[in-house]
């Protein structure tokens, strides 16, 4: 049975990304992994059923990481003011969305923000994506909104803890250095 499951997985992988490209949100993306990507557009696939924006995300350490972000159909993007011309390779953008479940550098995009401050919804409506308030045609239920806030609070808590741990380690290291200098 296990072998059959592995074979089915391999067969699905062999179908490639296009076969996965029009699944429900929940089949490919994780509503509990919101993310923010910032960088220059490197490639745009202006195709149905979803446009894909590739960008080099600028990380805090100065390095870049290639990501691809799924958007709505080209027609829906056009209706919201996102055109091919506004996504020319080299354009600086910020995208928020949700990472794929397999933790690869793929995401489902929700909002795109341009250099001039314009923020436009770039996602798909009615695909089962979280009702997080990004889609102007949907309203998040109180329960969904609360769940989203909980996830974000949890993430912020984690990063604060990490920062606190880093600061503690730094102070301990400094104290260690001072003690070592004093003993010298």
């Amino acid at each position: 049975m296990r072998a059959v499951q592995v074979l089915v997985c391999l067969a699905l992988m062999a179908l490639g990304s296009s076969a996965l490209a029009h699944h429900a949100f929940g089949a490919e993306f994780d509503p509990n992994r919101p993310l923010l990507l910032k960088g220059k557009v490197t490639k745009v696939e202006w195709v149905n059923p979803h446009a894909w924006i590739h960008l080099d995300h600028e990380k805090e350490d100065g390095t870049t990481e290639s990501w691809m972000v799924e958007g709505g159909t080209p027609n829906t993007l056009l209706r919201r003011g996102i055109t091919r011309n506004s996504l020319k390779p080299g354009t600086e953008i910020i995208v928020d969305g949700y990472q794929s479940k397999d933790l690869s550098n793929r995401a489902n995009g929700r909002n795109i923000t341009y250099d001039d401050g314009r923020t436009l919804f770039m996602g798909s409506s009615g695909t089962g994506a979280p009702r997080d308030g990004a889609d102007p045609t949907e309203r998040a239920t109180e329960e969904e909104q609360q769940r989203l806030e909980d996830v974000r609070d949890e993430e912020e808590g984690d990063s604060e803890e990490e920062a606190a741990t880093e600061t503690e380690s730094e102070s301990e290291a400094e104290e260690g250095e001072e003690a070592s200098e004093a003993s010298d």
Partner: protein, 154 residues
């Protein structure tokens, strides 16, 4: 060579019988594939052919249009559209539609209508029309999936 009148009569007789047969309510279909399998093995790959045959990919090096450039390419696109058109009836067959609401039939028919637009676009070798038909085909998928498939948990 002219067909003998007796042979023509026999063909007409057989055709008449076949017509009577297909109208019987007792006719049995094999229906080998489940709805999921029909989607994954027949409809989805055909839709991918349509979607991959229109649009543009932009990079720093320039633009690559996906519209077919050969007769074979257009024929493959038209053929994929034909598969989706006929799949509409496959979705309506008894074992695949028995427990469904009336909307199941409407969604299936709508899918065929959008695929017909794609077939016409491919026949006319019109890339823009094919792109538009691809978008409306996806919308027809989404409309149905919203009722019969997509939930936030799957």
């Amino acid at each position: 060579m002219k067909a003998p009148p007796l042979a023509i009569g026999a063909i007409l007789l057989i055709a008449g019988c076949q017509q009577t047969d297909t109208s019987r309510s007792s006719v049995e279909f094999d229906e080998f594939l489940t709805v999921d399998e029909l989607m994954h093995l027949v409809i989805e790959p055909s839709a991918d052919v349509l979607w991959d045959s229109a649009g543009v990919v932009m990079t720093l090096e320039g633009e690559t249009w996906l519209t077919p450039t050969t007769e074979e390419g257009w024929l493959a696109t038209e053929s994929a559209a034909g598969v989706i058109i006929e799949s509409s009836d496959l979705l309506k067959m008894p074992s695949r539609s028995l427990d469904r609401a009336e909307s199941w039939y409407d969604y299936s028919s709508n899918m065929a209508e959008q695929a017909k637009l794609a077939r016409d676009a491919a026949f006319n070798q019109d890339g823009d029309a094919l792109f538009e038909a691809g978008a409306s085909l996806y919308q027809s998928c989404l409309d149905c999936h919203n009722e019969y498939w997509i939930t936030s948990s799957n």
